[in-house]
Subunit: 457 residues, 2 copies
Amino acid sequence: MDIGLLQELKSVVAPEQVSTSAQDLKFFASDQGPITAYCEPDVVVWAESVADVQAVVRLAAIHDIPIVARGAGTGVSGGAHATPGSLVLVLDRMNAILELNAQDEIARVEPGVINADLNDAAAVHGLMYAPDPASYKTSTIGGNIATNAGGLRCAKYGVTRDAVLALDVVLADGTLIHTGHRTFKGVAGYDLTALFVGSEGTLGIVVGATVRLKYLPVDIRTLAVFFPDVRSAAAGVLALGKARVQPCILEMIDGASLEELDSHHGTDLATRGNALLLAQFDGLAASQESDIAAAALSDLGGVVSREDPAEAERLVDLRRHNRGLDLDSDITVGEDVALPRSQLVHYVAALEDMALRHGVGVRIIAHAGDGNLHPTFWVPEAEPAKIAALNAALDESIEKALELGGTITGEHGIGQYKLRWLPLEQSEKVRHIQQNIKDLFDPQGILNPGKAIVMAL
Amino acid sequence: MDIGLLQELKSVVAPEQVSTSAQDLKFFASDQGPITAYCEPDVVVWAESVADVQAVVRLAAIHDIPIVARGAGTGVSGGAHATPGSLVLVLDRMNAILELNAQDEIARVEPGVINADLNDAAAVHGLMYAPDPASYKTSTIGGNIATNAGGLRCAKYGVTRDAVLALDVVLADGTLIHTGHRTFKGVAGYDLTALFVGSEGTLGIVVGATVRLKYLPVDIRTLAVFFPDVRSAAAGVLALGKARVQPCILEMIDGASLEELDSHHGTDLATRGNALLLAQFDGLAASQESDIAAAALSDLGGVVSREDPAEAERLVDLRRHNRGLDLDSDITVGEDVALPRSQLVHYVAALEDMALRHGVGVRIIAHAGDGNLHPTFWVPEAEPAKIAALNAALDESIEKALELGGTITGEHGIGQYKLRWLPLEQSEKVRHIQQNIKDLFDPQGILNPGKAIVMAL
């Protein structure tokens, strides 16, 4: 990159916060999403304060340099992939919990705070930060906000947007603004907080957040319910709804995924059934809810096993880490559609059918409680014909999800990888509005360009 | 109004959907908010379909006529007050529940559906629509969305924004767009749904909504806990938080409000204590939670009475109707601040002090569970000096709420009445962004101009 600009960067932050080393440029070229156009950034900058972010943004604005803000890089849609000529702004050093107020049940954090660290700090007060993406041990609150991350517990507790009360945001001109309120409720003016949540760093850079905490449950009960096939498991999801019990976690794992887990962890899950519903209940009624659920799922032919806390934790952890095993590559791509729950059974059947027809493999795991499926399609090798089949299956899976009233992304975000499907879900008029909002916040187009939204024609 | 335009209006909808009668112009001049500049509209139009709304908006755009969209007119911030030269567009005839899907736990409704009617329809399936503003028996879902209405149950279940999954919106040029998703989760593009919720008809006109339903609780337990003073009751709110129980309803009513209720309903609440905490717990753990709460509040000196369902319903109904008694006028103005819960005690003390100093009366009721207070200030007559004292007390109450980390409006919206306080809460930069968003959606400024946001200087 231009030497003069590099010097300027090193002068607005400290020299050791700036790197152009080959190793760093490679490391910060991508997040965990599929790579469609590999590209290394021109420079990597670690911000250590709000003032750092403001200074870097101002400099980038002057020199018209695209900024890719990034937390831990655990995103799976390529939202933090570097783009041509970009500056990757790493926020993981801004990792202070500025306040944890147990009476107000809120925390104020810097964007680089690790989700699990916030939970550890909250647990001391009998509180928790509910949104728990599978990456919660490594992902940052800032990254969770950028993608409006979901997770397992959002079946009961809601997604990131539901937990965020207020934001500090550095805009494209370097201005710092504050949105939202420290209170649980507040309706003054337009909801800019919700607009920034999930905007993937394209409207501003989140440098602080006030989040709402929830009560750490006093009791947790977990059921592992094995079914002969994934369609019966999907029917179990509706049966729980009909029984009017609210799991905090309701995961569905198909036979192929169970085998995958067994092969990595030495477990024998696949011998117990061809599909698993993992249902967790929490709170004072956990035991009652779990009994009701066990009865409803037994009636459907499920083999119910009540798991002790250690085994329950192990199973939930296995499920969380499943994504880690399933890192996307040329030949393995995970999806993230969400569906109305009544359509789960039909969609699972359709997925199995389309995998067969396209001659690709499919494994299905799902946050079934909110109809959010993560099917993974794969082919054995990167031959052009097989890649074409993989892509055809992916495209068909997206179209089918939309046909059944679903969305192309439940919790991972559009990033870079899912841009090609966004026009299938959103009308040209809606895309035009989104583009206008982008232009309003970032007239130069320097904030993570080419992500999250697709320009209307 | 111009005869030609009136003829045009009557041709794009049916003639009987248009009125310029003195009676109608008067009736639709205002909602239930304080009136600062009484103004009748030029014409009232009742829409009966999405096409009606589109046609009226297109015509208004051509003739540059401001449109005030309106549901039942139960808002209390003047968001539906008519403005000079305006057309009031009444949506209460669009009152069909288009779909109620118990498996998907959602409903699709037209904007004019009454909140209570949706709840009645959902109850048949063991479901409920959770947001329950005090006006729920008469207010419409469209109006609830326009103000992001709260209510009693949002202590546990969240506000309107949390219940809205998708919207159909007619934009300022008459285009119909669809935002959001039928699914519980979805992160495709910017969150336009949240942007429209609470925007008070200034960005578009909501003509349809997909909302999430919750499970109707199987058990409900209610405690009426009387305290010697409102400060002890406010301390009780924190005690419940510390006991980690989650009431679905937690209302605080001070002595003056109890007397007001008694005088209208022939009850004897004020003889039982000088402040009441009304705590309701629901779900399978209701009984346990209620026992824990009773113990915690007794320890604080509260006199706990466990109410049978009929008496509980009566008390909650009294609380809901309190607002009906307290209609704003020149001499009585209700507030709607929200505070971090730890500040409730301090704020209540400050309110009592400022009422004394300004020589005005104050009554306090609060959705205490989420720190949302509705103090009502009043003076005995409309003398200029007394009105000035009333306004001074109001201004001071707002400033104090902000000083304690609060917001000027928890659930009623800015409307027209609270515009004067918005710059105290939002920076010029934030107001500028809001104005730009307004200009983006409504470049002509025909959608409810002069409401919800304050232009930056």
